[in-house]
Amino acid sequence: MTEPIITLRQVTKRYDSHTILNNINLTLESGKFYTLLGPSGCGKTTILRAIAGFMQVSAGEILFAGQRINDVPANKRNVNTVFQDYALFPHMTVAENVAFGLTLKKLAKSVIAERVAKALKLVQLADYGDRAISELSGGQRQRIAIARAIVMAPKVLLLDEPLSALDAKLRRQMQVELRALQQRLGITFLFVTHDQEEALAMSDEIFVMNQGEILQSGSPVDIYDEPINHFVADFIGESNILPAKMIADFQVAFGGHQFECADAGIPDNEPVEVVIRPEDLTLTTPDRAKLTVTIDNQLFRGDYYEITATDTHDNHWLIHSVNPAEDGTTVGLTFRPQDLHVMRFGEKEAEFDARLETYDDLEDDTVDQT
């Protein structure tokens, strides 16, 4: 573990009686790509503003490379922000915008020109220095906003939903470029978004937030495969979430049957929820199936069919299948034990992690046997 660059300790923000952030703890290591992911109003932008210094927190500590920076004004912090609406100064040219921070530092003109040219080249707009901001397209403004921030050589770059104003195709392209840029520069990125796809694609680590709290943090794969609760499972990707009952370790019951699963450490007979991702379900013939369902509907999504179906207990199922099915027919569904993920009600992240620790080795054995 490298030296943490940003640490938030028990950070809380209240407006009057309204709590925006509730006891936030997070650690950002140097040179990684982090994402704060959550629905609008969950407090993710507030965390960004607290780190940038645009806002005072009500309680808790913000540390930068081990130093408390709660009382350091925004202009003295070694972090820079890419704003949601870019906030490019309309009365300056592209080059003047990018040079703004360096000019304030009173660097030599030649040094400024050189660094500005380098930053513009990095965002592939080398020839745009003399343009007016109003002459740029949304995507170009986006790049200039990034150039204006990275030219300052910050230790941490904060990005506040920077891609939300772009169209889908450009957004995907910018995701690739941002990720590449982060890896080339080796700067810590803290990216804020409500788009789970964006978060999964770019991040080293994701913090999933809701209502002012961090619900779960981890790598995109961890969060996708092992969501801590209903909210996270539902928010990250599409999923089938069913009420279930824990029978014993590695045995769970739902839809009138008992199945082998990969979860343990939960008291027997505890009511739980089970998550199965639609792409983990495979269509098969009823005699080979773990469950039988009736096909209701299907949509062709290009690279897969999105099929909706109902089982005999009236549970609705979402299935992603490469092959089409026939509406109204009864088909079988099959899945592997590790495709099931069991979630306990009201389990906190620390308890969840601790529980996983207790049976991780055991789980590996069971998986090997199947």
């Binding site: 925004a74 704003f83 921070g101």
Partner: protein, 285 residues
């Protein structure tokens, strides 16, 4: 940054073209009767002498008379001073009010004096500035002794500035209100101190508000005549006073109109100087 206006609205115009013209009618009539016609009449009148003969003599007189030229320079100078002091007071005031919690209330207090007739305000100041007025009572109290305040150039500028302040504060306040706070955050984020942020970002981006304020203050100040007489004691003769004299006292409507034309030209010059030059980054929002 706001995205440019959608082109959709333009496409719908041809359909409603006729109706749009109907909406323009009241304003068009007003414009024709009370703006274009008077200006045309003034220009027309300026080419007649006292004997109703067509002549260019009025203009010749104006440009060859040291009195008129000095009067014009005087008017411009005092209008400049009034605008300058108004601006120096209004910008910080507008900036301060904009930071306040109950800004609408404070703004109302700024607007309130404009609801009172200018004559009433002038007479109130005569009371305050007179020999036995409040101002002199205060000067006596602190031991300075009574001074001649009324009928001085300073009192004229003071009262004129007082009257013009709301017209400067409002456009500046609106410009500050329109300023996207993200620009201020961005500036701070890039390392600018409060003062640098003000100088490089807030001030340039609110310049259109100042320009609008200058237009609203400088031009009327060129032709102030009530205040020059009541407060300034006619020591400063502005173009406004000259026009009034020509129309009401000497009955030389031609000469009065000529000075009117000069004023109109001056207004156009000010409008051009303070108008929207091509802003580098488009709309300053």
């Amino acid at each position: 940054m706001r995205v440019s206006k959608p082109t959709m609205t333009w496409r719908t115009i041809p359909l409603t073209k006729h109706r749009t013209w109907a909406y323009f009618l009241p304003y068009g009539l007003w414009l024709a009767l009370f703006v274009i016609a008077p200006v045309a009449l003034i220009i027309y009148q300026s080419f007649f002498d006292l004997g109703h003969q067509v002549t260019l003599n009025n203009y010749r007189t104006y440009f060859h008379s040291a009195t008129y030229l000095k009067m014009t320079a005087n008017s411009a100078w005092y209008a400049f001073l009034i605008t300058l002091f108004t601006g120096l007071i209004s910008y910080p005031t507008a900036y301060f009010i904009h930071q306040l919690k109950h800004r609408q209330f404070w703004l109302l207090l700024v607007i309130l004096p404009t609801w009172i007739n200018i004559l009433l305000k002038a007479y109130a100041f005569i009371g305050i500035f007179s020999q036995a007025g409040l101002a002199n009572q205060f000067l006596t109290f602190i031991g300075v002794g009574p001074q001649q305040i009324l009928f001085t150039n300073a009192s004229f500028i003071f009262v004129a500035t007082y009257i013009q302040i709301p017209f400067m504060i409002l456009p500046i306040y609106n410009a500050l209100d329109d300023l996207n706070p993200a620009f201020i955050n961005a500036s701070r984020d890039l390392g600018a101190s409060s003062w640098q942020t003000f100088r490089h970002v807030i001030f340039p981006l609110t310049l259109p508000g100042i320009k609008a304020g200058v237009q609203a203050v400088f031009i009327p100040s060129l032709s102030l005549f009530m205040l020059t007489r009541l407060i300034g004691g006619n020591k400063v003769i502005t173009l406004g006073t000259a026009i009034e004299e020509h129309f009401l006292t000497t009955m030389n409507w031609g000469m009065g109109s000529t000075i009117g034309v000069v004023l109109i030209v001056a207004m156009i010059v000010v409008m051009l100087l303070t108008g929207d030059q091509k802003v580098k980054g488009g709309t300053p929002r």
